[in-house]
């Protein structure tokens, strides 16, 4: 009996000390929802490594943000929505911001985080209409949304066809999930506007087997294919497209379908495949030099350091940089380094990453400038098209950063967010 009590006491003490340490050291808590295991790990790992390396660099180089260290507990979601929600519940206490890294998880967190007063930042994914800050106070999705992406892809196709795509057939091959379905509405509206025929081709998780989809494509011969894929679905689709000899320059993926993992398995067949992007690949940036110096050379690289400079690693750097910058802005706005979750949200809403600030942060020409405001939580909406060079094994930017069809996208966002506000009885902000 005594022994049992002793063990119970020890257990309680350990939990208490653990909680105290977390509070005492968790000056700025940025929990990470990651997927380093499971079917989507090859994409989740480089992205998570980018986050971790950036946070470690900020802690090592600057001593944290305004002197407050960043803590970034990882929670493994396996890209599963329910597990992601559990991770949120586990880590929400004291958290500044959550980056769900999944549109499905983001959708689940929107009402929860709004009720709890925690910022959710879904960088270029999640619910598109969350761009409307008047309705979605706690949700941010800068620098571009899926609807921006869809309209930018169509704009690129329009440019190639001298503005006329009336007789064209465009297929959307998409991950049969909340993520993959997100651009459909925009593409349908754009189809009415420009007169192209839209084919919708869902692919079930994980997308290892897509033969029927590509037989349909081969029979119906679309002029262009757009892809909203993730994980193995991307590489199988690109390989299948090459296999049916679809012209790869007419195959355009969203920014989550444009990493090295997606094209390398297809070998030479992937040559010419295009994908949108809002950040550059490579290691020619000051931030990479700083990470090398303060993190990798000290032996603190996340993982084995082999993802350094890849598309998804660099995206992780960009996402982490925006989250850190929001804390910076919040500290300046409120005159204290010890910010609360509410103060952090104010910071995120006032992030202004212009060219000068990007350069100061070591991200010169890494990404187009953007600014959040009370009304606009979705940034600039700019993205460029990159193309894969299979021989050189590298992505080349082939367009400047461009805007989507803001006329169509803004209208859709206003409609969707108004509907959500009505359902949830949300009073509009930013008057």
């Amino acid at each position: 009996m005594r022994l049992k009590k002793l063990f119970m006491g020890m257990a309680v003490s350990v939990i208490a000390i653990g909680s105290f340490l977390e509070v005492a050291t968790a000056d700025l808590k940025f929990p990470m929802l990651v997927y380093r295991t499971g079917a989507y790990a090859p994409n989740g790992i480089p992205n998570a490594d980018g986050f971790v390396d950036y946070y470690r660099m900020i802690n090592a180089r600057d001593g944290g943000i305004g002197g407050e260290k960043i803590v970034f507990p990882e929670c493994e979601t396996g890209y599963k929505t329910q597990v992601g929600v559990e991770c949120y519940e586990k880590h929400k206490k004291g958290a500044m911001v959550f980056q769900p890294m999944s549109t499905g998880i983001t959708y689940q967190l929107i009402p929860k985080a709004t009720a709890d007063g925690v910022t959710v930042y879904s960088t270029g994914y999640g619910r598109t209409s969350a761009k409307n800050g008047k309705v979605f106070k706690w949700i941010f999705n800068a620098p571009a949304t899926y609807w921006d992406g869809a309209s930018i892809a169509i704009r690129h196709i329009l440019k190639q066809n001298l503005g006329n795509i009336r007789s064209k057939k465009i297929a959307l091959v998409y991950h049969n999930s909340a993520y993959g379905k997100e651009p459909i509405r925009t593409l349908e509206v754009l189809a009415k506007k420009h007169g192209y025929k839209l084919m919708l081709l869902p692919v079930d998780h994980p997308g290892q087997e897509q033969k029927a989809t590509w037989l349909k494509i081969r029979k119906s011969r679309p002029d262009y294919i757009l892809m909203w894929g993730w994980g193995v679905m991307n590489s199988v689709a690109i390989k299948s497209a090459a296999s049916i000899k679809f012209p790869m320059e007419n195959f355009i993926g969203i920014w989550w379908s444009g990493s090295e993992n997606d094209v390398l398995p297809a070998g030479a067949g992937a040559n010419g495949y295009k994908a949108l992007t809002f950040n550059a690949p490579g290691t020619d940036y000051q931030v990479h030099k700083d990470i090398k110096k303060y993190v990798h050379e000290k032996g603190n690289a996340s993982g084995d350091g082999s993802h350094f400079g890849t598309v998804l690693y660099n995206r992780g750097l960009f996402q982490a940089m925006v989250q850190v910058e929001a804390a910076n802005v919040a500290q300046k706005m409120h005159g204290t380094s010890k910010i609360t979750a509410a103060m952090y949200r104010d910071g995120m809403e006032n992030v202004n990453l212009d060219a000068k600030r990007m350069e100061e942060l070591g991200f010169k020409n890494f990404s187009p400038p953007f600014k959040n405001t009370c009304e606009n939580h979705g940034g600039s909406g700019l993205a460029a098209v990159q193309q894969w060079d299979a021989k050189a094994k590298k992505w080349n930017m082939i367009t400047d950063y461009m805007y989507g069809d803001s006329e169509v996208v803004s209208k859709l966002i206003a409609e969707d967010s108004a509907k959500y506000a009505k359902e949830q009885k949300i009073a509009l902000r930013c008057k």
Partner: protein, 334 residues
């Protein structure tokens, strides 16, 4: 011929080819179930592990390099330049044999005479452990697998069939991926070899005896443990073949373990104890799901139905023939 008919034939052919790919995975399940009554949940992970190991040997990657480097501050990644695929395959087979031996020593030996559900649970644990070990050993990057098997659409078939369509119709010829043709050849070879082995060799006969009755086999001096190691090693070999085929198509990545889900309806349809059943079941499922996706999906204007349709087919079959097409009929005497 009308284009519609040609398209239908193309869909059926592609379904058959996909079915063969499912059968390759299902074969591994059948072998183990026949010999030990264990439904090996880890079979998909076996395929992943074998494919990871093959690429690791091919590229000279140091196993556990990340762990070693983390612990000792070293920078080992590769210990030799690329080696020939045949040598890498040979080394992978050896690894799968060692793995089978380890599984027998550490898991199966201790679970002899336990309920089938206990053994099944053990294989679930095994699946997760093996996936984790595979990650630690070889990393979780997407790996390109190329053992020299050609892939891509068959130009020959396309040219040979382009003229079959009625004059004036728009037709581009029939499509079949050459990789799937190779998978078919390999599957035929594997099934033939397995049939010859089980009929005409001493070990094969011992294996059949164990499959029929463990106690009787033991009483005539057949070592159950040796047979188990043998069967798990064979199943590891088949997993490697499946891993090569699927890995060549998509790159070797952790989603490869989910191909096991494709084998389940095949097993329900073909029976858990029949090698020809695994092949026929695979073909039926392959054709059924492709026809459903293209024709039923097309008719109802919905997509992505092939995954659940395969299970729907299996369920319907289960209602009429629970033991599967070629499975042994279960007779319980009171």
């Amino acid at each position: 011929m009308s284009v519609e008919l040609l398209n239908f034939i193309e869909t059926v052919l592609n379904g058959l080819m996909s079915g063969i790919m499912y059968s390759l995975v299902a074969l591994g399940f059948v072998l183990i179930f026949k010999a030990s009554g264990v439904f090996n949940f880890a079979q998909g992970v076996f395929a992943l592990f074998a494919a990871l190991t093959l690429v690791g040997f091919q590229t000279g990657q140091v196993p556990f390099s990340h762990l070693i480097n983390e612990l000792f501050g070293t920078k080992f990644h590769h210990w030799y330049p690329e080696i020939h695929s045949f040598l890498a395959i040979f080394l992978t087979i050896l690894t799968m044999i060692v793995l089978a031996w380890i599984i027998e020593r550490l898991v199966l030996k201790h679970l002899v005479n336990q309920e089938p559900i206990i053994l099944f649970m053990a294989t679930i644990g095994l699946a997760f452990v093996l996936e984790g070990v595979g990650d630690l050993m070889w990393g979780s990057d997407v790996k390109v697998l190329d053992v020299g098997i050609p892939s891509g659409g068959s130009v020959w078939l396309e040219n040979a069939t382009i003229g079959l369509a009625s004059e004036g119709s728009e037709y581009y010829g029939m499509y079949i991926d050459v990789l799937n043709v190779w998978a078919t050849v390999i599957a035929v070879f594997l099934v033939t070899a397995l049939a010859i082995f089980s009929q005409y060799t001493k070990t094969g006969r011992a294996l059949r005896a164990v499959a029929d009755d463990h106690q009787a086999a033991l009483s005539v001096g057949i070592s159950l443990r040796t047979i188990w190691v043998f069967v798990w090693a064979m199943s590891g070999f088949i997993a490697m073949v499946a891993g090569i085929m699927w890995g060549t198509e998509s790159g070797v990545q952790f989603s490869l373990s989910l191909i096991a889900l494709k084998a389940l309806p095949v097993l329900i349809l073909g029976g858990f104890t029949s090698i020809p059943g695994a092949i026929i079941g695979g073909l039926l499922i392959g054709v059924g799901e492709k026809l459903a996706e293209i024709y039923i999906g097309g008719l109802l204007d919905i997509g992505a139905i092939e995954n659940w349709f395969a299970y729907f087919m299996a369920l319907v079959f289960l209602l009429f023939r629970p033991q599967g097409l070629f499975g042994d009929k279960i007779i319980e005497r009171v």
